[in-house]
Amino acid sequence: MSETITALTGTGETDANVQHMSMQLALNRALDEILADNPKSVIFGEDCGRLGGVFRITDGLQSKHGEDRVFDTPLAESGILGMSVGLAMAGFHPIPEVQFDGFAYPAINQIVCQIARMNYRSRGTLPMPITLRVPSFGGIRAPEHHGESLEALFAHVPGLKVVSPATPHDAYHLLKYAATRPDPVIFMEPKSRYWQKGPVNLASADMDTAAHDAGTDSGGNLTGARVVREGRHLTLVAWGAMVARCLQVAELAAEDGIDVEVLDLRWLKPIDAEALATSVGKTRRAVVVHEAPLTSGLGAEVAQLITQSCFATLKAPVERVTGFDVPYPSGDLEDEYIPNIDRILFGIQRVLEYRRG
């Protein structure tokens, strides 16, 4: 997909600030710079130090910044997150890692009852500038509990903010942005995209996308959604690894004369309602795509926001193409579970063919 994005963005090999790198490297570079910029930032978790993380996101950071800044903890997620609270209270900016999405569950009390509430409980005197990195979503044929999509769960918790990058460029800039916020941010990394390369403009958060060239890009703003492909007939709303898949779908749909807009939501809390209104206000049709199970998934929230702003002009009810209400399956069935190109195309078809009864 990176080739497609590159083609679309038309990023200049000419610009010295734009480098092609994997999301893994972009995240690694962002963390390196965060550590250099903020002496109070500390990175820790299981195998984050000497090993550099099981996905190598923290590779080389311990040897460069020292064992006080990047360290291994015992294997206990509640301990990692509970410790983050205390470090934040002592004036640090913790960047803990939960090794895999499913292992956030053992830490749920510390995330939900402590990190999310300490600023409130302390009446703003104990902010929690914690960036919790969680390698998320499926697609890598991993064991059980290594392919979960927890965004709806996190987004439901008052006091948390949730973001997920889809490209190396966004991974780099959104992580640097999140790590300088005074509030807790759950940073959901699409692990199936770690090794895909793409252009990263190190100097500017502005994306050199075609949309940007046309002066319509909303991507310079790190707090909102981003139009990654402009279209007239329908909006695909996605985040994380599903963005690249939706771009593929858009290319295929274009062959049939269907002009699909792809909106990368990026922030899952708060959701950029304005970007949804703008995009669907124009296209008048929308399909939300996510890996998480359907029921009470974030797609429902997105559909409501669209309905709220675009009810009068919507041509069809907002469709959802999602995972199913089943435990995340074994690798052999993974492709049956994660929204694939065909299922997304069927979703588009349902919306396009909808007729008011």
């Binding site: 206990a76 509640s78 509970g82 470090l87 934040a88 009446r123």
Partner: protein, 348 residues
């Protein structure tokens, strides 16, 4: 073979308490006893909706809280540490406001008072203490600040306590784990809660030195805490203190101990009253006389009246705080909810 972990030799500060200090400890215990008893009455009178009394734990709480150096240490309480709060000199109206249902964490400033917000999840803050303490190590100051985390025999069953002790030991974090073993976790007695009978005994498994003290002897508690602090401050890692005491009252004002223990069992389990015991000792040692005790009681009553008056005039917080204190940087969604609330509640 492993050797039993031991406390590092205590420093030169370990002088016996002066008469002045002993009298101060008594004055604090008397104030705590009276305020605690009064708070139960306030609940019966409808001044506050609920309270978790610490009756019988005055020595454990005052003795340990008295050892805290507010210029550098930090305390992580649960919801039954009124005596610690008082010994550390907290604004007691701010502390009691949590029981007035004004604000969950209390209205006191945790940073200035060195006392974390009141914590309702048992063992929830034990790990916070470890993180804060590791922060002291990372900051690299000599004679570093120490974190003291309070929890009970019931909370010791929580997995977070294991994680906290293990983390603290691995990282040599300056943490004092202060357990008040008060015999009861609501209705469940220690023997059905703590396998092996002692939380302190578990410390050896982590290589952490531990002290089991008579939690009803305020001087013993103070001395144990002081030596634990000295051990931590010198960079020797954590210490576990288990203060054996007794919860003489109900778990909370909503509890009815008659359903799980008899008055005879209560009398037997509670042993000697820590306040009366200390009074007898001060008398016998010629440290204080009846006039002193009467004055301590008068001060306690005066203080309780002032705190009650402060609580009674404490009105509800502005509803806008529900929204404004969630984030440092509020989200647009939350701001629009706040606006809608203001308009629809006619609070415009």
């Amino acid at each position: 073979m492993t050797t039993e972990p031991v406390l590092a030799a205590v420093d030169d500060d370990a002088a016996p308490l002066t008469h002045h200090q002993l009298r101060e400890l008594y004055t604090l215990m008397a104030a705590v006893r009276h305020l605690d008893t009064a708070a139960v009455a306030w609940q019966r009178q409808g001044i506050i909706p609920g309270y978790a009394p610490e009756l019988g734990q005055e020595a454990a709480q005052v003795g340990s809280g008295y050892a805290v150096d507010r210029s550098r240490d930090f305390v992580f309480p649960t919801y039954r540490e009124m005596g610690v709060a008082r010994a550390m000199g907290l604004d007691m109206v701010g502390y009691m406001s949590t029981h007035k249902a004004t604000w969950h964490g209390g209205m006191y400033n945790p940073l200035e008072s060195r006392f974390a917000p009141i914590q309702a999840v048992v063992a929830g803050s034990v790990l916070h203490a470890v993180g804060w303490a590791h922060g002291q190590t990372l900051s690299g100051a000599p004679e570093m600040g120490v974190a003291m985390t309070y929890f009970g025999d019931g909370a010791s069953s929580q997995g977070d306590v294991h994680e906290a002790m293990n983390f603290a030991a691995v990282m040599k974090a300056p943490v004092v784990f202060f357990i008040q073993n008060n015999g009861w976790a609501i209705s469940v007695p220690t023997e059905r809660q703590v396998a092996g009978g002692s939380v302190a005994a578990r410390a050896a498994g982590y290589g952490i030195p531990s002290l089991q003290v008579d939690g009803n002897d305020v001087v013993a508690v103070f001395e144990a805490t002081r030596s634990a602090f000295a051990h931590c401050r010198a960079g020797n890692g954590p210490v576990v203190i288990e203060a054996m005491t007794y919860r003489r009252g109900p778990h909370s004002t909503a509890d009815d101990p008659g359903r799980y223990r008899t008055l005879d069992e209560e009398r037997l389990g509670a042993g000697e009253d820590p306040l009366e015991r200390f009074r007898q000792r001060l008398l016998a040692d010629g440290v204080a006389d009846e006039a002193f005790f009467m004055e301590a009681q008068r001060l306690a009553e005066e203080e309780e009246e002032a705190v009650r008056a402060g609580i009674e005039v404490l009105g509800p917080r502005p509803g806008a705080e529900m929204f404004s204190l969630v984030f440092q940087e509020p989200t647009p969604t939350l701001q629009s909810q706040a606006t809608a609330w203001r308009e629809e509640s006619e609070h415009v």
